[in-house]
Symmetry: C2
Subunit: 360 residues, 2 copies
């Protein structure tokens, strides 16, 4: 290779352009979707949620509902670790030797330095890949794991993530004890964890047939409470890529689900998609809109990495296994800012990774 010599001093700070129009108009240059020849199976799964989530519409589908948000621990952070640990251990029950049969864990979460995931993996004697794409972490982990299994590198991979209302509020907004008011377009970070065990096994009823890797999209939203509006363009970008890559339309899927856009965000996504000629009909739902009912005062619905992770690993995969749905596209969406970047005046870049579940 010719050695690259490039002696510059200041390449300029390029990050303050508002509303990246080029990200929309020229968005689709190369394929972003990998279709698997040997689609990996979902052989185990588990969802663990908090009390509030247990009282919501999906309550009866979750495997474990906690009654204490601190789970008997001294800190909410430790309670989040417990939930993720329980989801991972519970999902691994499908394997003859439990977690000893795992070849790899792919995990991440919302806390700084993804500590919930790393502290859980400290208890496991299993290789670990830490990932981060905020609330898109579940679909990112499923996408990477599917690529690894399809290629034959491993037999069993655990994909998991978690979030906790109290830890996320403290870290991203204000500690709960401050009693800050929330605007009507806010969402509620789900106290929830989810884990899927993917396997090269060829007999389980549900497989992952394809994965779409998302690009970073920023439409200029800078309000830390308005996650749905910030993330909807990223969902649009990745969905359009999948439809074009695979030459499909929304009607070709029994169900299309997004992660945690909430009610406002999912309405924005419907509008954005219809502007592009893709009409999301009754086969489109958002996990954030499903998790709480209107009496629970959660405004636009749920958010957090655990939101879609728990809904997909309970309600959604139940429905696919039972044959109610055959072909489900899942696009979790993540907002990639930090509090520091927002304090420094930055807007919120977002991303969405997608996978398709199919009943064999």
């Amino acid at each position: 290779m010719g050695k690259v010599i490039y002696k510059g001093n200041n390449c300029g700070f390029l990050c303050n352009k508002k509303i990246e129009e080029h990200q929309v108009s020229n968005f689709h240059t190369k394929k972003q979707t990998i279709v698997f020849d040997n689609p990996p199976s979902v052989i185990g799964r588990m969802s663990v949620v908090g009390a509030k989530e247990g009282q919501g519409p999906l309550g009866k589908y979750f495997h474990v509902v906690k009654t204490d948000d601190k789970n008997g621990e001294k800190t909410f952070e430790k309670a989040e670790i417990d939930m993720l640990y329980e989801a991972l251990i519970g999902a691994s029950e499908c394997l003859p030797n439990k977690t000893a049969d795992l070849d790899l864990i792919i995990a991440g979460d919302l806390l700084n330095q993804i500590t919930s995931s790393s502290y859980v993996c400290r208890e496991m004697n299993v290789p670990y890949l830490g990932i981060y794409s905020a609330c898109s972490t579940m679909s990112e982990s499923l996408a990477i794991a599917s690529c690894m299994l399809n290629a034959g590198y491993f037999n069993n991979i655990a994909c998991c993530t978690a979030s906790h209302f109290a830890t996320a509020e403290r870290q991203y907004r204000y500690p709960l004890e401050y009693g800050c008011q929330r605007p009507p377009y806010a969402q509620w970070t789900a106290t929830a964890a989810g884990c899927s065990i993917l396997s090269a096994d060829r007999t389980a009823p549900v497989v992952i047939t394809q994965a779409t890797f998302g690009k970073v999209v920023d439409f200029g939203v800078n309000d830390l409470n308005n996650m749905g509006a910030a993330m909807a363009p990223a969902a649009m970008n990745s969905m359009l890529a999948m439809f074009k890559d695979t030459n499909t339309m929304p009607k070709d899927y029994d169900l299309i689900i997004t992660g945690d856009l909430g009610k406002l965000g999912s309405d924005i996504l419907r509008d954005l998609m219809s502007e592009k000629g893709y009409f999301l009909g009754r086969n489109y739902i958002d996990c954030g809109s499903l998790l709480y009912d209107v009496t629970q005062n959660c405004y636009q619905g749920a958010s957090g990495a655990g939101c879609s992770a728990s809904a997909v690993n309970s309600y959604i995969l139940d429905k696919i296994e039972s044959g109610e749905y055959q072909n489900v596209a899942y696009f979790a969406t993540g907002a990639l800012m930090s509090t520091q970047s927002c304090y420094q005046g930055e807007t919120i870049p977002c991303i969405s990774h997608g996978v398709v579940f199919r009943r064999r």
Copy 2:
């Protein structure tokens, strides 16, 4: 699949066991190393460093040396983004259509929510996988990218990371303005960025022949200044796995490099390895020990994700391309704590992912 029903309330917080002996004695149960049939090539690379790093022993090997740690920006965070951006753009010069020929970027960094990587990828019209394993991020990205390329999913993948002394100190310890004293076993976070372009191309002189996925190891260190001692056991764990998986010994490699153990940490690693019967001789070096000379008052040497990323993408790969080395094992090491977890009394879990570079 049989639905897992497991209704528990408190699985107990398992994270305060000190010195996980079982992690050592039973560490090696399954293969952690993937050997590639179609090893991907390193076709482009770039290193960008700060002034202090430019004055060190490797100064003449780096592609870009910045003279201003703020790079003309208002904040150190923006300067870190600039460095990473410049490394990515510079490395992509090897491709006919520059970054437009990239199929994927795999990146992460030390800042909360890996914002440096995400804000750089916002400027790119390329799918992005965010990863995190602290200072092991460079080798984690190379390992994942190699798996993806070996399987034929993509043609060109950029792997990159960065760190900055001022942003890391503010976030993990104290803002520089406080003028805090540093203990003699401290290391100095490198102001540096590195990027490698890996490709399915079969003609470039250097390939990645195998990747070893690390496990989380915690020997009970809880001093945020003593990173080398915390990380050495993780390096040992992954190195032993590679030697056993591939039936090799240290002498089978021209060079074995660790990321940023520093002088103290690399001495500990030598001791730990010799206890296990593997003697690291003159063919073992640590990038953290290389980056500064003794007159620069950096105590045990460099640390930070950018430390080994910049050294590998300049000095080390120069030497492999020139034929001085034929077969180099690279184990970057990462400490996975957050300030929050340490405030809450936790010890520091660590990880090390490894890859092997070979001259064709």
